[in-house]
Symmetry: C2
Subunit: 402 residues, 2 copies
Amino acid sequence: MNEQRPIRAKSGANHEGTSAHNRRVIIDALRVNGALSRADLARATGLTKQAVSNLVETLENEGLIASEELVRKGRGQPSTPYRLVADGAYSIGLQIDRHVSRAIVVDLVGNILARATAEVPPRAPEEGIGVLLDLLADVRRDFAMNRPEAEARIAGIGVAMPGPFGVEIADDSLWLMQAWQSFPLVDRLAAGTGLAVSLQNDAAACATAERMVGAAHGLDHAVCIYVGYGIGAGLILGGELYSGAKGNAGEIGMVLFGQPENLVPLEHRASIASLYAMLDIEPADPQQFDKLERLVLEDDRRVGEWIERAGHDLRLAVHTAETLFDPQTVILSSGVPGSLMPRLIAAIEPLRPSLVPTAGRSVPRLRLGMTDPWAVAIGAAADPIRRAFDPSFSAILKRQGE
Amino acid sequence: MNEQRPIRAKSGANHEGTSAHNRRVIIDALRVNGALSRADLARATGLTKQAVSNLVETLENEGLIASEELVRKGRGQPSTPYRLVADGAYSIGLQIDRHVSRAIVVDLVGNILARATAEVPPRAPEEGIGVLLDLLADVRRDFAMNRPEAEARIAGIGVAMPGPFGVEIADDSLWLMQAWQSFPLVDRLAAGTGLAVSLQNDAAACATAERMVGAAHGLDHAVCIYVGYGIGAGLILGGELYSGAKGNAGEIGMVLFGQPENLVPLEHRASIASLYAMLDIEPADPQQFDKLERLVLEDDRRVGEWIERAGHDLRLAVHTAETLFDPQTVILSSGVPGSLMPRLIAAIEPLRPSLVPTAGRSVPRLRLGMTDPWAVAIGAAADPIRRAFDPSFSAILKRQGE
DNA sequence: TTATTAAGTCAAATTGCTTGACTTATTCGT
DNA sequence: ACGAATAAGTCAAGCAATTTGACTTAATAA
């Protein structure tokens, strides 16, 4: 037998894995439901009272959860609700965007504790890495100032940057960061900070944020379209972030729309880059959002045109996403604050009829998510927390690696 | 506290779950790799030799796996490879299509042991259920004839029918089975046969078949486009069949293509229904495939037109699927045998550049899968086996339910 | 005042993976 | 031809973590 090709198999599981999973399930239940007693947790997770009790005790000792006031609610012994402790863990988010980089520190429940920005040269990674490490050091120092023991509770650094990854793109016009593609960013950041570093694209980060603290809170099937300098979608499928075989799932900006003989990527018509190009706004301009907001409020003709065109294409993109993913909801998020995004939503609606049900919904088909320049950074920071504390198939297995 | 709304939480796990998972991992490893020794299994799954040994012993006693000849391959004690036993389990597949229904019995490795067809009235479920139960009884009797103990080893019945489910569709032209939508099919079949019954759409079934014995064997990320009377896609995401919030994920037939002012669903241009409409072939005609094949071989002008149009739309559909799902491969399957599908593939190619890598691939971007009228029935039959024996997140948890 | 209900604990039982030593069978080197 | 090295697989004890069932505690309802 020429048994030379590697054997492919999924990982087995053991007790440690189950226990780790159960921990995560409890943390997740507390995040989704607020505060729950041990008995509540036992019922909700299907575990026995005793198993929950043991896990709750451990989590309490670790400072991840804490009990609240006794609650009397009918007959029987009063229950002791438990709640996540915000200071149970911290996480650092780093967004590397085309014209600015942002670092942020959040706690376990998503409160923002520190932030800072820096300008990173988009075409010179070797130089940029120094800037990034300084930025991270800044924000870390700022955060740790009056929290002496907090350093040990940092779950890691989540990095988000525009995708796709590992792809040669002919059209460099919107894509200024080719140079970063081949740079060992994760390794260098890990070496420079001593923390675990993970990388994802900006849309995935945004989806993570929406799931942790935003419009997708508690949902297991959601498509989060992120309108940034580019445009992409983060996918929550079956309760987990889905990133595809090569980490590029959801790159809706590269989906082609328009006349069959003249197909253009969505990114050319519905990204902020395309809007700024029409408006002659410089993407590196610190005043960009103010300038834009003024034009939006003035009902600038070019802004109206863009909204109409982008809305038209996005209406179809939402329909396509609904049809292919069958989500509970579609969320439209953006790094642009102010009134642009509400107008865009208005231009997208009414949605086309699709296979998702319209009656009896608990969440709308399309919803506005965050509209905040820091949305991606927040999502990036949410990623290490997700990895450390959210239930997932891979977390249960012996050999990890998503 | 008005704690009235239900508590949402994921299910916990316990030892039984780990064990069940490890069983499935071993079965899966044997399916993907053919035959493996206990030591191989231990290395591949990350479990200890001992854990594997115990599981292998159990599986052997249950008749699901069996040892082969000793293999000497270098120093050390020779190894005993184990392999799946085809007769370890059986499964029944039932395809309910618009003009014919097919039942099939397969074994654990996908061999077909019996099959039969029947005509089911598409608009009269109450009458149709009798026909289906007779059909199932036929095929079951046929199969069990000379396998007296086999009845106990039937994992269940997998049913596949055209989707989407639970949707009111305005356009009834291609959709003749509205009446079945509100019919409690699964319950009635379960009651009438005494077996576990599961339901999925035909494209999902086809994807399941491709994964078990076809072009997606051993892959964890694949999109399987199924060209049947309608058209849909089955999604293998992260090693599992993905069906969305309401079971309708992958309904690519309803994705809109064409001129922006005249968008039409893919189904109108790339389904067999649309081809038959051009050719005046009656979908209920038993000779349909022969008639079609003759026209294809004659280079019939209308066939050429359809192939061109469908190929054009599918090229874009493949691009969209690649962009949104980032799969390892896209598979094109069909219920139509003969030379139509190879021609269609030829018309789709060359594929548009997309974000999936083109160089260094081990599988092509687009591949022809099954072209067999029985493909969906085989996939339907594969579903109970998948549920019973494939590793999945839900199988590890206390509370099941995909 | 007492029965009922529910939360939570205690301690033993059980399941199933892990550990480390051991046996067995084969090839390689001298 | 022989011993050393290597690898497969078994044995038996150890261990982690859930489960079980009885028990305690504390509240409300009748």
